[in-house]
Symmetry: C2
Subunit: 355 residues, 2 copies
């Protein structure tokens, strides 16, 4: 039977799922970041190959026609595809097709050929899907040029608010001790309540500036969870309310009356932040799509499988879709238990049953 | 007679002025960026030495006690001072004292021991000077963390506004053709008014994003002049009005009732932008310090001379101060005429008189 390989290659992790045409999940593996833009081409290919190797453990490599799809953010380059196909040929997947990550995310939540996806992780992007293709993209222009409402955007505003607080330019905020604590900095106090100053600037501000410029700008997204934690603080709340408004507008921008939904959502800001907010915070946020059902997905690996099956000539229906989802969930669950002592790990039905 | 060396080392240029204790300007030289943080220590020291070499052309190196002051932004490191002193010892200046650039700017506009300076070039920073020292600094935390109202801030908002326009997230703006033109990009048109799209995103937006991420973020400040040029456009005007409000607040933040002024201002955003605005724009901007006299200065070289004279035991009064300013103006003017065929150039009263 034909083997199908589905890969989701993100900036922080690569996931590979091997399944057959009936939707039976055979193996799953996870490795480091597989985005060639952020990790570099060679590192990305190596990480993806490692995830695939783990997913293929104990699976026979039959010399039959196969289909492999990788869901990937950013530009699709021929050089990357060639390097990846060469690396995956020994596994029986000599032709890897690249699909937009947003399509992978969408099809992880739905097998319909039209709808919307909204992702807010480090970045923020929305897409309209029509006839199985990304028809309209909005946002996703990166930390410097857009991505309002994203993890970077939230973390950046938090960092600026703390700098403004320490500089006396902005209001005091509970974010200041939280962010300084996160960075392992503490404010030394000067005489009688006044902060200690060096050439007219508080010493702790000098230290904070030095620390923040030493990390890559995009990594300011690590402060986003602190803002959710501090949501009772006025400055933090204002950032979150504005972020929710920006994300709601982003989704609105790609919507058209002819396409109802479904609306698939993903990314840590939505899943762990906005959509997991405690009721008192949730009541203050701008709702993404009031009264409509949202389909949250953790990543694009199921979607890559849906696209790969479709390319292999298998129509994905509700039953097949649910079989993939539950099969993957079982593999992931046992992966979590067995793989707890190592960063990367593989699990197959065989090893799972035998454990 | 004692020689005095005054240096202003900025990110884009270093200026050196040699004068005597009576304020007579003897030589002036200019070379490339001399800020060790932005240019690297070795490059910075080489550029400064080159400016000093040009300023010292034709001037006798008497073995008498001398005073040298360099006005410099950023942290004062012992390594930089040691490297610079070693390099300038052959010119008769073995001990270089580093002063904050803001103090150099302030004393370029005033010999008073107290007052304010507000600089808005690529960055934005304000200072209160008291007893000849920087007592309170506000802003100047750099492009990522602050500097609202600066050239970077204005250029960054312009770039974001153009991206939002092309992405359909923001209003149409006259900044779009201006900024695309500045970068040598032109929007190809698709069928019937719709822009040409690639995977759901306008092709010109893809090109713009690629171009903007390829330059250093801080270089977005190059778009600030475009915003002033487009001030009749609503988006551009809003950026400028907000920038003027941010700069006015920054200055307010350091002001105290006990110190009246003077207020010394510098940097391209203030000198070539806000304070050179045509009347219809000026009427809409938030005034920096309504009804008060502002003292504009092009750089900190006169201030470095004032500080150096003070350290050498010479009290700078109105007469001495004006002698330095006019002497430097003469040297600079002839430098501009004689040096037009080369980037770096020196001029001394001798070469000037002889030409």
């Amino acid at each position: 039977m034909k083997k199908i390989l589905a890969i989701d290659a993100g900036g922080t992790g690569s996931r590979a799922l091997v399944l057959d045409e009936t939707g039976r999940c055979l193996g799953y593996g996870r490795a480091g970041g597989g985005n060639p833009t952020s990790a570099g081409l060679d590192n990305a290919v190596a990480a993806i190959a490692s995830a695939v190797g783990l997913a293929m453990e104990g699976i026979a490599r039959q010399p039959v026609a196969s289909s492999a799809v990788i869901a990937l953010a950013g530009e699709d380059t021929q050089r990357f595809r060639a390097a990846l196909s060469e690396r995956l040929a020994p596994f029986g997947f000599p032709d890897v097709v690249v699909a937009p990550d947003l399509l992978g995310m969408f099809h992880s939540g739905s097998y319909a050929s039209a709808g919307y996806s909204l992702i807010a992780g480090t970045g923020a992007v929305a897409a309209r899907i029509a006839e199985g293709k990304v028809e309209r993209l909005a946002g996703g222009t990166g930390w410097l040029l857009g991505d309002a409402g994203s993890g970077f955007w939230i973390g950046h505003l938090a960092a600026r608010a703390v700098v403004a607080d320490l500089d006396g330019q902005g209001p005091e905020t509970a974010l200041t001790p939280l962010l300084l604590g996160e960075l392992g900095l503490t404010a030394p106090s000067g005489p009688v309540g006044e902060p200690a100053r060096d050439s007219g600037r508080p010493r702790i501000l000098r230290q904070l500036i030095g620390t923040l410029y030493a990390i890559r700008p995009v990594e300011l997204s690590r402060f986003a969870p602190l803002v959710f934690r501090a949501h009772e603080d006025a400055v933090a709340l204002r950032i979150l309310v504005e972020a929710s408004a920006k994300l709601a507008s982003l989704l609105d921008l790609v919507r058209v009356p002819q396409i109802d939904g479904p609306i698939v959502v993903g990314g840590s800001v939505l899943l762990e932040g906005m959509l997991s907010a405690p009721p008192e915070l949730a009541a203050k946020l701008v709702p993404l799509a009031a009264g409509e059902v949202l389909f949250p997905v953790p990543d694009g690996v199921v979607g890559a499988a849906v696209i790969a099956l479709d390319r292999a000539g298998t129509t994905v229906d509700e039953e097949l879709f649910q079989r993939i989802r539950s099969g993957l969930a079982v593999l992931r669950d046992s992966h979590r238990h067995n793989g707890s002592n190592r960063q990367d790990g593989a699990v197959t039905p065989e090893t799972r049953d035998g454990s």
